[in-house]
Symmetry: C2
Subunit: 243 residues, 2 copies
């Protein structure tokens, strides 16, 4: 087992939607904050990685499995473990539990390291990954498959000043927000996600606009974010009617 | 002196902009969360106010005075006091301090109570306000004056699903975001606010779009948010060059 870390978290008013359910894009940013605290505790802060290697972590894929949407004022336990890694990819898992240790949600997250000078993905240094006690594996499998969209609905979004994070990039929670928000208001009001697959292929540049496109196929929505004619992010979301 | 309450807060990655400075609209939502915890502790939660009276708190005005923008990972003390009230308005102050008790920012906030049935502002019941130990005063003065915009720059924003809070309203931090984001990216990159006045006149309805308009007059920006041909919010922001 890899090194793990946990924190309690009460869901504040600004973190929930009109139904009182957690805003998943904002909660994703919170999860990454928890993994940042974990890394700091192991002497592997983002600053250390940047200053020692000239590298930065980038997210490649997420997979959410949602048993029950966390709610306003709920007290959560967020537990994260650095599960495994291979030459290029590191796999981290988040578990979100309620006060009786019931798992409400799991999030599998996959990261790579980018060299800030060459802007290329680089091999994971053993010295960097050591303290996480992750299992070294040959292959890290992700099950997701994504549909090419033939006749999508499209919404355009201007990239905002506050979409850019302290690394100078569009924060990856923003792509998730554009994907989510592309759907119809009444659909979002009356459905909750059960399973979400998200894949980042190419980052969009600050300034300009992106197109958030989707096709809804019964209770599954297929998404892509397109910028400068190229697919930046793909997603598949399995929904159910809100009870 | 009114009853006061304080909390510590470390500024997480998702709460800062590309410069590492706090995102003020998001931080405003955090401040309101702190005042909510204060009210809960006094037995005057939003739920109590709704169930006992059928009322909800609405914000009428804010005034920010910023000595220094809080930064990524900074440990803050957020202190709030229910200062005073008159027949219709309650005045609450927030002080944001660093670890050496230096005041980085103060926010004066003004609230009224709205009857959820009539949608009208109502008198503040003595029984509701009692535990706050606020001073009862004749007049609550706010110094702000706002300019009518003759030839504004305009950006339009579609109201998003996640802009609507659990009360079913566009959250007031969103108006602030639309105001902020209307300014040019490079202006925001190179300036920081010193003084902000914000006045809410009329709420916008979920769905549809709003126009965020501004005129920049040297180092002062004048703002209005227009929806259905009516002014919803006005603001004045005094800026300085980022050092």
């Amino acid at each position: 087992m890899g090194h793990s870390y946990q924190e309690t978290y009460r869901i504040p008013f600004e973190m929930v939607d009109v139904n009182g359910n957690i805003k998943l894009p904002d909660f994703l940013a919170k999860l990454l904050d928890v993994s940042g605290t974990h890394s700091n505790a192991l002497g592997r802060s983002d600053q250390y990685v940047r200053e020692t290697y000239g590298y930065v972590w980038i997210v490649t894929d997420y997979e959410f499995t949602i048993e029950q949407m966390p709610r306003l004022n709920q007290e959560l336990l967020i537990r994260t473990e650095a599960v495994s890694y291979n030459k290029l990819i590191c796999h981290r898992c988040f578990e979100v539990l309620d006060h009786s240790d019931r798992v409400l949600m799991t999030v599998e997250a996959y990261f790579a390291l980018m060299d800030l000078t060459s802007r290329r993905v680089v091999a994971v240094p053993e010295e960097l990954i050591g303290p996480y006690l992750s299992e070294k594996v040959k292959k890290i499998s992700r099950n997701a498959s994504y549909k090419t969209l033939d006749h999508p609905e499209t919404k355009s979004y201007a990239i905002r000043f506050f979409d850019i994070d302290h690394n100078g990039h569009v924060n990856n929670s923003k792509y998730f927000e554009w994907i989510y928000e592309s759907l119809d208001y009444h659909f979002l009001l009356n459905h909750v996600p059960k399973h979400i697959y998200l894949k980042y292929a190419r980052e969009v540049s600050p300034g300009g606009t992106i197109d958030s496109q989707y096709e809804l196929d019964e209770m599954v929505s297929h998404h892509q974010i397109v910028s400068d004619g190229q697919i930046s992010t793909q997603a598949r979301i399995e929904w159910e009617v809100r009870s």
